[in-house]
Amino acid sequence: MRFIFKTEYNQDITLAKHGGHVFWYSLLAIFLVLAPWALPEYWLAQMTFVLIYAVVGLGLMLLAGFTGLFSLGHAAFLGVGAYTQAVMVNAGVPFPLALVCAGVFSAIAGVIVGLPALRVKGIYLGMATLAFGFIVEEGMARWESVTGGNAGLMVTYPKLGGWTLDSTEEFYFLCLLVTVGATLAIVNLLRSSTGRAFVAIRDSEISAQSMGIHLARYKTLSFALSAALAGIGGALYAHKIQFLSPEQFSIIQSIDLLLMVVIGGLGSIHGAFLGAIFLIVMPQLIALGKDFLPAAIGGAAGLQGTVYGMVLIAFVLFEPMGLYGRWLKVRTWFQLFPFYRRGLFKRQKSFQKSDRLK
């Protein structure tokens, strides 16, 4: 067990609570910085994808994990960001400016969705975001003069003045920078009164309201921030994939994003990263596992969907806190050894949280 002795007030607000944090996060930082030299190019590209999805995941985590609002149309924000970036960079705008615009446009889209969403709750909100997602996808396919429609749109390399980020390494560092910035922003946001208000809304809207939290304002803000992060992620995604078409931002993508935060662990920042790693590594594992399966199963087209579905079912049934929850349990087991009890993380049944009135 670790006991933290507090000798200074500043200890309460430092991000690294103890030496363990400092040690492990420094190690992680060193690994991430040295990765371009340590890893083969293929894996570096995969890591870039992990970072991009982590940025999107952070946004969705803020909305779903910390504000308790579920969006079934998050791919739409991703798409708005991606197309904004693509169109602006292709027109010769320096990429930092385009990145900011991508975030801002997505945030505006988020506010637009957030407005009807304020009147509705739970499943109706899901429906509103789902509907929005479909409309945006169709819009991307039909607005051919800007988006290139179903034929797709090529994206050039990010450019700043005379400097072009056209190598895997340079782009990896750009993604790393954005990801670290986004993570620090979210971590700090959650420590502020705004973040506390989000969590209060998630835990009980009625009590949050009676504590004087302006529901409409905070929900819209949460939507806007979440959409902005998704948009920035989308902008990076556009550069990474270099070819955009509307079906990349369909309901399947939205569900994948949700799957990412649920499997990563709702309500934890680590969860966004673990989920992103899962989302990128899983297809590779399936591809590896195919060789060991009989050809009839290994070669079938539906294998990936089946495995995804089963993993999702298993997580919801047995580990609702996701990968991060499992890690917490393992860590606690070691910290408390031999005193870990089976019921330590027992789930509370929440029949009381019903929307039913009687």
């Binding site: 509705v120 739970g122 109706y124 079938a300 539906g302 969907g305 089946t306 579905g309 049944k349």
Partner: protein, 308 residues
């Protein structure tokens, strides 16, 4: 000259009238399918307060099991259809028992994710069946390709069957919920589980049966849709258009689901003809967004607010 023109306009008007009627009928037929899937959502929502995203995929499995009963087992049409429906009903009950019941009482979103997972697995497993899963199949129904001519109107037999079967099913469900003991118990359990439990209603078993009923209704929808759009592994995506239907009708109302389905079907059919290309696919979603802004509880939903 002018007389001729009057005749022309009259003829044109008649033609547009017939055309409109034709569009309405195809919209109603499509709407019935949406309504039936939405009915499944509403049944499950009322019983367990969760939304099943697997409904569209259950419909797809229902269509495939009907196909298997007809082609693989060689059943005649009139035995294959009830067999597929009953099989799906049993499958629904099992699904509830094995996957849904263990996490009842968890936040509603867990169950939504769970049903998304179930949908993935069902779609994946069907696709994995060698030679069958990835292909598109035609359902060999006895009424395939027949048309009924009524004046200038041409109605496909498939559409008539869809409308007729939906009507009969709705009457049957109405009678069941109104008069049978089981139906009344289901209503009671959906209104207040605790009180129903105190009255001696086995709420858990009732929930299982509701899932079975919803899966059965989904199978009916799949079998009705099969002759119109063919049977393939991705036909379940039509379930995503049934969500607007359920919302327009008010998520907690059974007649609302059917009415919502009809509204969505007709809007889709009309916008496909009168509006520019592309609007057909998103018209249902525009309707649902308007509905959520103007009347968030739907046409038939109750307006209630939780008291602290």
């Amino acid at each position: 000259m002018s007389k001729q023109r009057v005749n022309m306009t009259r003829k044109n008007q008649e033609e547009t009238g017939v055309q409109l009627l034709q569009l309405l009928i195809s919209g109603v037929a499509q709407g019935c399918i949406y309504g039936l899937i939405a009915l499944g959502f509403v049944l499950i929502y009322k019983a367990t307060e969760t939304v099943s995203f697997a409904q569209g995929d259950l419909m797809m499995v229902g269509a495939f099991s009907g196909l298997a009963a007809m082609t693989l087992l060689g059943f005649p049409f009139w035995i294959a259809v009830p067999a597929a429906i009953v099989a799906m009903g049993i499958f629904g009950v099992l699904l509830e028992r094995l996957v849904i019941r263990p996490i009842l009482g968890q936040p509603a979103f867990s169950i939504v994710m769970l049903t998304i997972g179930v949908g993935y697995v069902l779609r994946g497993l069907i696709t994995m069946i060698p030679d069958v899963g990835t292909d598109t199949h035609t359902m060999p129904v006895p009424y395939a390709g027949e048309v009924l001519r009524l004046g200038g109107l041409v109605i496909a037999a498939e559409q008539m069957v869809v409308i007729g079967a939906t009507g009969i099913l709705c009457l049957g469900l109405f009678a069941m919920f109104k008069y049978s003991k089981l139906g009344i118990a289901m209503q009671a359990a959906s209104q207040n589980q605790l009180a129903a439990y105190y009255m001696g209603i086995p709420v858990k078993r009732i929930n299982g049966l509701v899932w079975g009923l919803a899966a059965g209704v989904a199978a009916v929808a799949g079998l009705l849709l099969a002759p119109i759009t063919f049977v393939h592994a991705n036909m379940g995506f039509i379930g995503l258009k049934a969500f607007p239907a359920a919302v327009v009708g008010g998520f907690g109302s059974l007649p609302g689901a059917i009415v919502g389905g009809l509204v969505i079907g007709i809007v889709e059919s009309l916008s496909g003809f009168y509006l520019p290309e592309g609007f057909k696919d998103i018209a249902p979603y525009i309707v649902v967004l308007l509905m959520l802004v103007l009347k968030p509880n739907g046409l038939f939903g109750e307006k209630l607010r939780k008291k602290v």
